[in-house]
């Protein structure tokens, strides 16, 4: 054991990771592959997030987009919407970033054996679900059918299109829709709830995993309920201002939830349905 391994840093201190690869997914979405320089963080579960530090700029919560238990680098997919996400998006191979985590609740993959699963994502929302999708595509379970419904703004803003196509070849029922396209696109054009309209299985008894902008999640959840999915079987991923990631700075509160600890994955019923409908204004 080295000195570093014996001295566990406090929960506020980031572990250093190096960017070993990067990919520009769309004009504002980037994936980074990170490998540890300091002792690595604990094993994570699909749906959890890390606090990533761009040294000199700041720290933000980013979902882990690689599959749990997969060997090799940990992946994070970042959307450029602010100073820190911009700095992370601009990271070059070889740069050092800070990682704290893993934090939060997960999608509960162990509860998905033998049940049908419908995954509904919008925008960058597929990133927090990519680890779970990889797991579902690679691990067949008897009596489990998986449907994936993807919404994006434009065809060139679909994240991970090659992987989506591969999942389709691996037996996932895939449908993708965009808000607008030109006639070169032969896929669907319309909101993601329109391609939810037909599931290849009965909604009752199915589990739904939903991730995307909050408005998209609540419209999708309502459509899923109309299709017979039990509200408590719909899992959404919520976010608020996260600063410490360890349930002691008070910023990520949403009603009774501390989202860094009780979320980001929460069941739509009994509470999230109201929480994501009412603006606190």
């Amino acid at each position: 054991m080295t000195e570093a391994a014996l001295t566990k840093p406090g929960p506020f201190v980031p572990s250093r990771y190096r960017v070993v690869d990067r990919k520009t997914e769309t004009f504002d979405i980037t994936t980074l592959w990170l490998e540890p320089v300091d002792p690595p963080i604990d094993a994570f579960k699909a749906g959890q997030f890390n606090m990533l530090t761009a040294f000199g700029v700041g720290e933000i919560a980013i979902s882990i987009s690689s599959a749990p238990g997969a060997p090799g680098a940990i992946e994070h997919t970042v959307r450029d919407v602010g100073a820190v996400s911009h700095a992370l998006s601009q990271s070059a191979v070889g740069d050092i970033v800070g990682v704290r985590g893993p934090f939060g609740t997960d999608w509960g993959l162990e509860s998905l054996d033998g049940v049908d699963v419908v995954v509904v994502v919008g925008g960058v929302g597929l990133a927090p679900l990519r680890g779970a999708m990889r797991y579902l595509a690679e691990h067949k379970s008897p009596k489990r059918a998986v449907a994936l419904r993807v919404g994006a703004r434009l065809p060139d803003q679909i994240v991970f299109p090659d992987e989506i196509a591969r999942w389709g070849e691996m037996g996932i029922d895939v449908a993708v829709t965009v808000d607008v396209a030109d006639a070169g696109w032969t896929g669907n054009v319309g909101v993601v709830t329109q391609i939810l309209a037909e599931l290849p299985f009965d909604g009752a008894g199915a589990i739904a995993l939903v991730c995307g902008p909050e408005i998209m999640m609540r419209f999708s959840a309502r459509s899923l309920v109309d299709l017979g999915v039990a509200p408590e079987n719909i899992r959404v991923s919520l976010e608020r201002n996260m600063q410490c990631g360890i349930a002691m700075c008070g910023h990520c509160q949403l009603g009774p939830y501390l989202l860094c600890r009780d979320g980001p994955v929460v069941p739509y019923a009994p509470l999230a349905a109201e929480l994501i409908t009412e603006s606190e204004r």
Binding site: V81, G122, R153, Q157, V180, D182, A183, G187, Q194, P213
Partner: protein, 155 residues
Amino acid sequence: MEEMSDLIAKNSLFAGLPDSTIELAVGCAQNVAFEPGARILVEGEPADTLYLLRRGRVALQVQRPSGKPLVIETIGPNSVLGWSWLVPPYRWQFDGVAIDPVGAVAIDGTCLRAKADADPVFGYALLKRISGVLLSRLQSTRVRLLDLYGHSLDD
């Protein structure tokens, strides 16, 4: 070979309505098929048909001077294509182009309007159904206008 009344009753617009109502629609209906690429609806042309899609998808499109036409929405199986036969000036607002091989029940708009005028009970039942579909489409369109995946509303 399925009966026309069964084909019509399968479509979400007519599903669950009484047999007598469906029979009225049968009198205006015929089976049609289109190859991929076929322009089923043509912008500006007289609108006189309601299509109950059975299989295949149709892209609602709008032409522009240069570049490929823009797709506004994809209408899929079990859905309804074409509303401009319902209200004057009875002209298509957009193109409707088959993406896949399309099979549909084509219902003559003039015929349907005449039967609705003659039988207000039938007319009201039809209109209630049509309103529901239109409302759903409007709400979906409104959600798309929010541009949820874009940056346009953020600071």
